[in-house]
Subunit: 330 residues, 2 copies
């Protein structure tokens, strides 16, 4: 019965601000479903946010991210801080088992009332994944969580987009992560704030460490220099050092006034990202339900109308803008 | 002087359709600059497109993609087919040298009048990279190129987005590409049509081959089964087999009527992608030049206005849409 109690906007807001777990669970479900009530609730609690330290953790699949998060939670809890976790699960077509196995590490903390863990798929978000994770982070923040881990698989910039709201970004690699090293080197993957090389028992761990060092040596020589930590997440080795480095980054951000600046940039970038996803979704829906716009696509496919003219006509019809790249030629 | 001759729309269109190299170079520069003339020219030549076989080649940086393309060009030319290459260069902040070194392989073909190679950076495209590569492909297609290679670095789905216009997608890996294998396994990287494992002399090449086989065995068991080819691009080994497999995929697409269906899907997806980028750019420009919208961002950053309300107000003001996710609640 209590699960079904009628959550009004006011009650939900009050319960979230009081840190009520069921209210949190309910609000996040509403966020995931794109429910209008979620929007109202986040809007109400927003002025109470800004307390949580948002730590993003990314890296290729299989590197042990969930295990690292699980170990980090232990350390954060030992400091008597409360924790939220948003774990973004790639919706794999055929290997959910393997990923679930990894995710199970997090269940160690399911009984701790001061740890709130939410796993979400990468597909089926009405307003896009960036919007869902942003709203969820804000709810956890408003509920008073001291640290929120945002864990997401990342092999390129699109996945890492989810992390643009994080204060500190940790990249987890392992021996064999040659592609990620190359991507860092080529500048197509952004340099994170802290790097963890997991599976330190692996004979190639030292080689990987040296490769990462070489890549970082090519980068800028002022400001924060990303530290590299060797870990063995399964046994918790090196995780204390990792947590120290994360906190050092936080302290550096705060000492420099950089935290405010970074959050300002992050929020502006989130707003653009969410607005763009919404605009895209609006276009897709408009074309789906409109015979005239469908006909445009048919004309493109028959090579009678070129794609850019179709784009212009669609933007004209959907958003009533003359030339949607804004470059109105005189 | 001739370089500066006045290219009118009509002259440029005629010269492109005649396969004139300077006209091609000029048109692609116009495309890159977002010049209105480029738009008109592509619009005019579009009905003459659809002949070129568009082969996408992606893979992590350093895997030898340019060398593979260079070797493939040799084979295509031996068949007396003409070739276009669009080589997307990640704009690296600090290792351009290494990437240029790779790119140099392509210069082997610079003197062949039937090979047209264009390298483009990943940044600074007015309408987005997808739009630039699409328009460039259409120009090369209209100029009568039989095969167009679209080479782009790929470690995730965003980079591979450029390839959504390709008929056949080749993924190049190398021993050590553990992250890519994991990404394929987890379903966050799409299964390509053909896989090349480059650097076959490497002691781990066989191991990589087996890993890829295992990943593919998990996939769907009907339709096209992606073949795996071991290559050593520097010496041209295995490249003939690779080209055979690419042609087999093409033949399979054609025999099944799948080529038309795939191109229809690709074109529709390109139209949405380009429309979305343009909408995004429109939003960014609107906010930049508008004090009221700037003030919205300031309010968000001061935690007085929540991000989603800001998004709604921006979309309302920029596109005059009530609720831009289209889910107008009654």
């Amino acid at each position: 019965m209590s699960e079904r109690r009628n959550w009004t906007r006011k009650r939900l807001v009050e319960a979230i601000l009081a840190g009520d777990r069921r209210a949190l669970a309910r609000a996040i479900t509403l966020v995931e479903n794109g429910d209008p009530l979620a929007y109202e609730v986040v809007s109400d609690v927003y002025p109470k946010t800004g307390h949580a330290f948002a730590v993003g953790l990314t890296g290729p699949p299989g590197v042990g991210k969930s295990t690292l998060v699980s170990q980090l939670i232990r350390l954060v809890r030992a400091e008597e801080q409360t924790v939220g976790v948003i774990s973004v699960d790639p919706s794999s077509p055929f290997t959910q088992g393997a990923l679930l196995g990894d995710r199970i590490r997090l269940t160690d903390h399911f009984l701790d009332p001061e740890v709130f863990i939410r796993s979400m798929g990468t597909r089926g978000h009405l307003g896009g994944l960036a919007e869902t994770t942003l709203q969820t982070l804000l709810v956890l923040d408003a509920a008073g969580k001291d640290v929120v881990f945002l864990e997401t698989v990342g092999t390129g910039q699109s996945e890492v987009g989810v992390l643009s709201i994080a204060d500190t970004v940790v990249l987890a690699l392992m021996p064999g992560s040659g592609d990620s090293i190359q991507a860092l080197k080529a500048g197509i993957m952004e340099i994170p704030d802290v790097i963890a090389i997991n599976k330190l028992d692996h004979p190639m761990a030292e080689t990987m460490l040296n490769e990462v060092r070489q890549v970082l040596a090519l980068g800028p020589h002022e400001g924060w220099r990303p530290p590299i930590v060797l870990t063995e997440a399964m046994r918790g080795e090196g995780v204390e050092t990792l947590w120290e480095k994360i906190k050092e980054h936080r302290a550096w951000l705060e000492a420099d006034g950089e935290l405010d600046a970074r959050r300002r940039r992050n929020l502006a970038s989130e707003v653009f990202q969410v607005a763009s996803s919404r605009a895209r979704r609006h276009i897709e829906r408009a074309v789906q339900g409109d015979a005239e716009l469908q006909r445009l696509l048919d004309e493109v496919q028959a090579r009678r109308l070129d794609p850019l003219t179709a784009v212009r006509e669609i933007l004209q019809k959907v958003f009533h803008v003359g030339d949607a790249d804004g470059s109105d030629t005189p």
